[in-house]
């Protein structure tokens, strides 16, 4: 099982051959730059009829990063979209490696077909793989609907939302604050129910005065040490 990033040039077949050659060379340059940050033992680059595929071994986060970088690098005039899947792949060849096959590649290609230009779509399996490799990282991938490919296979698609992770952090922080307030309030409520309001308040005020006096002493001591007027 590996992550497959499929970079697809839009309407490749309908473009004049000279443009195809230019776009292909551009895509190769983009892939060369973006794969440079991956270890060479972690990636296999494949040619596709309308783009390129990069098989990333044991690094779904790296695959996601690579797709993101490729799309941003390609934004300058290369009409490319990306699809990522995590699935089975196999090396084939006559005595030596020649090609790769597998459902991992087929689904990545299908997913890339559903991505509009300059956008990324990932499969549910890839989201699971990302979650497995880096729990929490999957929160950046939000649902983008479902699509049925030419083989009548239904794919649940996700897309990247850079603000989704920040929103999740805010949600969790708010939930943490609410939980903390609720738990402290529950403790206070329990104490009041046991001691009564008056006793509790006088206890709190006594504690407050004690802490305030202690604080004042410490401030004075500190002021003497630094010889303030």
């Amino acid at each position: 099982m590996a992550s497959v990033v499929f970079l697809r040039i839009h309407d490749f077949g309908r473009r004049p051959v000279s443009e195809q050659a230019r776009l292909r060379a551009q895509l190769e340059a983009v892939v060369a730059v973006t794969t440079a940050e991956l270890e060479s033992a972690s990636r296999i680059v494949l040619d596709a009829s309308d783009g390129m595929a990069i098989v990333v071994l044991r690094d779904p986060r790296g695959a996601l990063r690579l797709a993101g970088r490729a799309l941003s690098a390609a934004a300058a005039g290369l009409p490319v979209s990306a699809g990522i899947n995590h699935g089975a792949v196999r090396v084939i060849g006559n005595g030596k490696p020649e090609a790769m096959v597998g459902d991992g590649i087929a689904v990545a290609a299908a997913v890339a077909q559903f991505a509009p230009p300059s956008e990324l779509r990932v499969s549910h399996t890839f989201r699971d793989a990302l979650s497995d490799a880096a729990p929490g990282a999957e929160s950046a991938l939000v649902p983008a609907g479902t699509a049925t490919d030419s083989g009548l296979r239904r794919h649940e698609l996700f897309t990247r939302d850079k603000r989704a992770a920040a929103r999740r952090r805010v949600r969790y922080s708010a939930l943490s604050a609410a939980a903390a307030i609720a738990l402290l309030a529950a403790g206070i409520g329990l104490r009041i129910s046991e001691e009564g309001h008056e006793a509790f308040m006088s206890g709190v005020m006594g504690k407050y005065r004690q802490v305030a006096a202690q604080g004042e002493r410490q401030v004075r001591g500190l002021a003497q040490k630094v010889k303030l007027p």
Partner: protein
């Protein structure tokens, strides 16, 4: 068909037999009225009266259409007629060798192959402009002359043949390996079918591999309609990536995404030719070229169809060195075997808390708040 050579057909005096096919014989003949040596192609007419009448009518139409094609890359048709059981067509006699014979010696030098394809595409473009589709573009119908000139043979006759080739059972005969998917399916064809056939011829010239080859016609038909070819550069390191694209576009199964015009194909091939000539013209560049030429095993020269797998098969990209990762896959470590061999697993709660900061914050906050709440309540 009688093997006895008649002395004369029409006004043409037969000099010698040049070739013999399923439908007729080709003779070297002399036209006494112009004292010109011609190639006289004869076609056996149907025995049935109805079929014959129809055939004669079509033959005349096609021969007239072919006669209008005067182009440096198309064999000139001088005359046509009938005599007895034979229809004949007098054409320019060419001194040279046909591409089929040339290909028996192996693939052509890349620039020469592209040059031939350019000339054929030019000839086809000229005919297509006049509404004539060849329908049987194959190496046997491409004549290579001295000084590198190329001529397409059998315009018109090819069309007659192809219409005859559809039997009452709907089976298509002819040269299936060079037919387009729509032609092999018996669907109506247009000029884009010739473009596909030229794509197959070009592939064969570049690689020496017999594209779409199969053991029998149904297998060939299947290969033509559903098998994708490997780029020519896989077989021929001299083939440029642009040439790969040109071939790929000419060989699109769907005519709508194929080249729509033979002249457009010729223009792209000319660009490839210029690129190839530039490359051979600068030997210094060659000296500095660090590209490694990988020699293919003998069995890789077998029909390209044999090396083609389902749609998911993607070849390794040559500009990128993936050997380290491939080696890792060939000899995986224990960790690799464990991780690469399993599907993603659901994340357990402890693992989530350990690795995911947001739920961890919630968990710790709740833990601290619960401890503080308990202290307030019970201390």
């Amino acid at each position: 068909m009688s093997r006895k050579k008649p002395a004369q057909i029409g006004r043409y005096k037969l000099l010698e037999e040049l070739g013999r096919g399923a439908m007729g014989v080709v003779y070297r003949a002399r036209d006494p009225s112009l004292d010109r040596i011609v190639a006289l192609k004869t076609i056996m007419l149907s025995d049935e009266a109805d079929g014959r009448k129809d055939y004669q009518k079509r033959f005349a139409l096609e021969a007239r259409a072919a006669g209008k094609l005067t182009h440096p890359n198309i064999v000139t048709t001088f005359d046509f007629g009938e005599e007895g059981e034979l229809a004949y067509i007098a054409m320019e006699l060419l001194e040279g060798v046909d591409l089929r014979e040339r290909l028996k010696q192996g693939p052509l030098p890349t620039a020469e192959a592209v040059d031939i394809a350019v000339q054929v595409a030019d000839g086809l473009g000229f005919a297509h402009e006049r509404g004539i589709v060849h329908r049987d573009i194959k190496p046997g119908n491409i004549m290579l002359l001295e000084r590198g000139d190329v001529k397409i043979m059998d315009f018109g006759i090819a069309r007659m043949r192809s219409e005859d080739s559809k039997t009452s059972t709907g089976m298509v005969l002819g040269t299936p390996r060079f037919m387009s998917p729509e032609q092999i399916a018996g669907m109506p064809v247009d000029h884009r079918s010739d473009i596909f056939s030229l794509g197959v011829v070009l592939y064969e010239m570049l690689t020496g591999a017999m594209l779409f080859a199969g053991e029998d016609t149904p297998q060939i038909a299947h290969n033509v309609s559903s098998v994708e070819h490997a780029p020519p550069s896989r077989h021929n390191p001299d083939a440029t990536s642009m040439l790969d694209f040109v071939v790929a576009r000419a060989l699109k199964k769907d005519p709508a995404v194929r080249y729509q015009d033979a002249y457009e194909l010729a223009a792209d091939l000319r660009t490839c030719l210029a690129e190839l000539r530039n490359r051979t013209a600068s030997p210094e560049q060659k000296a500095h070229d660090t590209t490694r030429t990988v020699k293919l095993d003998a069995n890789e020269r077998t029909p390209a169809a044999a090396a083609i797998a389902p749609e998911t098969r993607l070849p390794l990209s040559r500009p990128f060195d993936s050997s380290a990762a491939l080696q890792r896959l060939a000899k995986p470590s224990r960790r690799d075997r464990r991780f690469l061999g399993r599907a993603p697993r659901p994340v357990s709660v402890p693992r989530r808390l350990w690795n995911d900061a947001a739920p961890r914050l919630l968990f710790i906050t709740m833990l601290v708040a619960a401890a503080a709440g308990s202290y307030i309540a019970f201390a």
